[in-house]
């Protein structure tokens, strides 16, 4: 097992480098650059100014030099400085957005697990029933509805008409003068709608997966023999079926790791949440190369890590599956 993990980790490094190289090339193939965005169509900026700015950002160097420099910095985990006018370190810009994105993602993932797993199990046990059908439509509606539309509708209902919840943002303007409890309550009120919506749209995947796993497990022989032994249905379901059906959940957990740091730019735009999705989107639009590279690299790393965790977790949980 250990050798397996080490081998995977060893593979990860060249894969990461490969991904970063591909990203780098892709980004630089794009028409336009960070300087153009800031200075073109600005009557006060001349060619000389532009040349100066290009040199300032190192953009006048040939591509392989730029990449080499970036790679060298990354080796020391230095993500470099953002090309946007604030020039702040990429790590800082990412770091200040991670908490809120992480919070929303973890909370909504928790919500999904809490709701989707029971739904999936119950639907499987009572396949074809009214509950099965209604819940199917319910979860798929969440998956099929354009999120920003639903978001606005809910904002109007709860924010404007009823006044129960804030409309947007992650905290009131008085946030910093609130007590600890006040802060938590305030944050909770602001995140309620985003988390609920993220959860609602993500229910389908998890619940259907649980359902089909459960269905498969139920038909296994050992379940039949458990029933034949005369065990009560509840025990059959909970003790035997569920435990086995939950194994794939581990896989899902592992595969969800990269998504933890990803944000939906649409969501964040509608709810005015300063998260990773917006950061990334704005980086792409303004051709902020170091920022884009930084986020992609972190994402790739997390994906590889998540895959590894999922595989290892699954192997640990199911003795039948062991890697060579």
């Amino acid at each position: 097992m250990l050798r397996y993990i080490v081998r995977r980790l060893a593979w990860a490094v060249p894969i990461l480098v490969g991904i970063s190289l591909i990203s780098f090339l892709m980004i630089h193939m794009a028409p336009g650059g960070p300087i153009s965005v800031g200075t073109d169509l600005n009557p006060k900026a001349t060619a000389e100014t532009r040349a100066r700015l290009e040199a300032y950002y190192g953009l006048d160097q040939p591509l392989h030099v730029q990449y080499g420099r970036w790679l060298g910095r990354m080796a020391t985990l230095d993500f470099g400085d953002s090309f946007s006018p604030d020039g702040r370190p990429v790590a800082e810009k990412i770091g200040e957005r991670i908490p809120i994105t992480l919070t929303i993602n973890v909370l909504s993932m928790g919500l999904i697990f809490l709701v989707a797993i029971p739904i999936g199990i119950y639907s499987a046990v009572h396949q074809g029933s009214l509950f099965d059908r209604v819940s199917t439509v319910f979860v798929f509606t969440g998956f099929s509805i354009p999120t920003f539309w639903l978001a606005l509708l809910l904002m109007i209902l709860f924010g404007v008409k009823l006044g129960w919840l804030p409309i947007s943002g992650i905290g009131s303007l008085e946030y910093h003068s609130l007590s600890m409890m006040g802060k938590i309550a305030d944050r909770a009120r602001h995140l309620l709608l985003p988390v609920l919506l993220t959860g609602f749209t993500g229910l389908a995947g998890m619940s259907r997966y649980m359902r089909s796993n459960m269905l498969e497990v139920i038909r296994q022989d050992y379940i039949a023999s458990a029933r034949a032994k005369g065990l009560p249905e509840g025990t059959v379901v909970f003790r035997h079926a569920m435990r086995n059906a939950l194994l794939p959940v581990i896989t899902i957990l592992g595969l969800s790791v990269p998504d933890l740091l990803g944000g939906s730019v649409i969501f964040e735009t509608i709810f005015a949440i300063p998260g990773m999705g917006q950061l990334f989107y704005q980086g792409v639009m303004s051709r902020d190369y170091p920022l884009i590279m930084g986020i992609l690299t972190i994402g790739a790393f997390l994906t590889l890590l998540g895959n590894l965790l999922a595989d290892v977790g699954y192997a640990l949980a199911d003795p039948r599956i062991r890697p060579e």
Partner: protein
């Protein structure tokens, strides 16, 4: 042998018994008709601008109201169906084609080819799909063709893996060995034996893919880089409508419902097919 008449009839029966699947199928057929025969559903020109009638509520002349340039919303939703369907189908077609070819290659040849291809898939999967789409469309032009191509080029990985898995497992089966013993060429084996068995999961992936493509287009429209006006798409009508959601409710309700119902239909159909054909889930 695979694909016997009996098995197929069984699947069909199971499909039809599931009311949700049928509902999904009907919805899809309905919108197909709308997209194929728009003249049946509206006589108005979706591009006709009428500045005297901007943002008018539903009326006899305009059953679904008018948009922010006075154009008939019903006509735009009807013609938008065509655009959304086109985007969905072509994008998925591209994804399926690439996925099929690569998956078959990997599964059939195994060894080196397989390893390289699967590493390639791994690398592609490391990129957040939406970023790839976003970047590609931003860097090129948000035209329908590019949008379709890009969604397709970023969505083939799942199919490739599926097809590869099927190919790998089927490759060793007896009937394939028998066919080979009979002198059947590779292509024949692929088309006659492997594909029909892999068909079901591919179909499922395809229907879910179309649903996803339609949603992606509406997401891109929200960001301003989806199908560009004045060409109508459900996504771009909804995006304009969202700014007037309270007073010009018709401009967001109808495209929103269209997207919801269509995507839901595809999802239900796909799930239904999955339920009906998954050998692990032979129903009660």
């Amino acid at each position: 042998m695979s694909g016997s008449v009996g098995i197929r009839r069984n699947i069909a029966r199971r499909l039809l018994r599931n009311r949700l699947t049928v509902a999904g199928g009907l919805v899809i057929v309905f919108f197909f008709l709308v997209a194929a025969f728009p003249a049946l559903f509206t006589s108005q020109n979706p591009a006709r601008i009428d500045v005297a009638n901007i943002l008018r509520p539903p009326s006899a002349a305009h059953p679904l109201g008018t948009d922010d340039l006075g154009r008939d919303v019903l006509a735009r939703v009807v013609y938008g169906a065509r655009v959304s369907m086109k985007v969905g189908f072509v994008a998925v077609g591209i994804a399926m084609a690439i996925g099929l070819v690569l998956g078959l290659l990997a599964g059939f040849h195994g060894g080196r080819v397989d390893m390289v291809l699967m590493r390639f898939v791994d690398i592609m999967l490391c990129f957040p799909t939406f970023f790839l789409i976003l970047a590609a469309i931003a860097f090129l032009s948000p035209s329908i063709v590019i949008i379709m191509a890009v969604i397709g080029l970023t969505g083939w990985m799942g199919v490739a893996r599926l097809v590869r898995a099927e190919t790998l497992s089927l490759k060793e089966r007896d009937f394939v060995a028998a066919a080979r013993a009979q002198g059947a060429g590779t292509l024949r084996i692929v088309f006659r034996h492997i594909l029909p068995n892999a068909l079901a999961p591919i179909l499922v992936a395809a229907t879910l893919g179309v649903a996803g493509a339609i949603l992606t287009e509406s997401a891109l429209s929200f960001l301003g880089i989806g199908v560009q006006p004045p060409t109508p798409s459900w996504g771009n009508i909804l995006t304009v409508g969202k700014n007037y959601i309270e007073f010009a409710w018709w401009l967001s309700l109808f495209p929103g419902l269209a997207i919801l119902v269509t995507v839901l239909g595809y999802n239900l159909l796909g799930e239904g097919i999955r339920d009906a054909t998954d050998p692990r889930l032979k129903g009660r």
